[in-house]
Point group: C2
DNA sequence: CGGGAGGTTGAGTAGTATCAAATGAAGTGG
DNA sequence: CCACTTCATTTGATACTACTCAACCTCCCG
């Protein structure tokens, strides 16, 4: 396997085996040879919080495999307000939609927590789809799962109140990113980012968070949110 | 090609060539042999308005190809309120998500205008994916397009007002189903169904429709809506 | 020490939901 | 053909959610 890692600044990039191991968490049906195909032109990037991976309107020459860190995928609505669609973390592939369809990206992606991502050029991805039906199948299933999530999201935003949605979002974040030993969510978001997930105003998030705090559902230390009463939050969020 | 059409009640089902021609509108990379594979166990159904094709929670043994008619795909939220996710018409495939992922369906599908659909058993679909990478690619692209639409939808519902969304939905319906010679939308929906797309209350739709009517943007004849001022509607809906 | 970004609080209000009731349309059975 | 049922639509009155605007605070960084 060609090793083209940039190791400037003492940055520790994953080696091929580590990449492959991480990739296998999500895609189980690639053998070593195919994995080589994917990471042949290995090109890892270390990205700091705030970096943009791709932006709405970009025409992609490839997609990105996320080795570590957290990204947000969002659309920019009228008035420039972000709507966060989902998060990506270790093991996810982002940007393959516009890559495959050869259309400009319809979302943007930005780093929430410092990340290492690996660029996968278009032809590698296409080759893989052509040579490995199982991989196609997994890609389809993955997209389908995203689509299912999106559909639920639509229903929630359309039918639930902001309070319900905020509680639900906290539960989703808990499921996706887990809690540390003190029950704090292992992802830190600004109030504005929270608002941009829930689809509401920053002020509303602040008011509701302090309402949850007073009710004893959560505790707050700056951007860190401690989940105290899971059952109450699930009840409020209509999550069962 | 095996012909197992049920031709009871003088129902005129499409023959294989017609099915294939219709299918080719959406999927261009299947040769005759592969098309045979798909429709080998041809099983057409004539479905009246209100019929349920599949329901949330069903585990699918296959998917359906829509030959004619219009279906709505929706989720049932809390309180039993429908959220319409999208419509399907001639040339679309529905239900392949749960079919492929072998998970219970996360949406339901119901007939809006009398439809002829053709059942495609799971193994046919899977075989095709395994044998024809181009087909996989088209399936992926199709799912990706749906996903892109869903993402836009999320952003709209989260950020736009009900008035804006209703105007936008009218424009979408115009694009999807077209207008007849008198500029009436070629799809009839109840006020409740409209509300379940927009994500609002039936009464709100009624009030806004009559507001649009008074403003001269539309005319109303029962369930038929005539699009009078496209530019005004686009402006209201923030569609550009 | 100043400036900027993020966070918090309060007051006022527009936009929608909800509830209730009346009307209209379509079908059913006697 | 009419009374009756049922469902869809419409209108009005009222309540309330959540947005907006404005002011102020806090923390951090240069």
């Amino acid at each position: 396997m060609a090793l083209k890692m940039n190791q400037n600044q003492n940055q520790v990039f994953p080696n091929c085996d580590q990449l492959a191991a991480c990739f296998s968490k999500s895609f189980k049906h690639l053998n070593a040879e195919q994995m080589n195909l994917l990471f042949f032109e290995e090109q890892c990037l270390l990205l700091k919080r705030g970096s943009v991976i791709y932006a709405e309107g970009d025409s992609a020459k490839g997609c990105y495999f996320v080795y570590s860190g957290i990204l947000k995928v969002f659309k920019t609505g009228l008035e420039g307000k972000e709507q966060i669609i989902r998060f990506s973390k270790s093991g996810d592939i982002i940007g393959f939609r516009s890559a495959l369809s050869e259309e400009p990206a319809c979302t943007s992606s930005k780093v929430i927590e410092d990340a290492i991502v690996c660029f996968i050029p278009n032809h590698s991805l296409t080759q893989l789809i052509e040579k490995n039906p199982m991989f196609s199948m997994e890609l389809i299933k993955m997209t389908c799962k995203e689509l299912g999530d999106a559909n639920s999201y639509i229903t929630d935003i359309a039918q639930k109140s902001v309070r319900e949605r905020l509680a639900e979002v906290l539960m989703q974040l808990m499921n996706s990113f887990g809690l540390d030993q003190d029950n704090f969510l292992q992802i830190s978001l600004t109030r504005e980012e929270l608002a941009n997930i829930v689809g509401t105003a920053t002020e509303s998030v602040i008011r509701l968070l302090s309402e949850f705090k007073n009710a004893g559902y959560i505790e707050i230390k700056g951007r860190k949110i401690k989940i105290v009463d899971v059952l109450a939050l699930k009840r409020v969020g209509g999550v069962y």
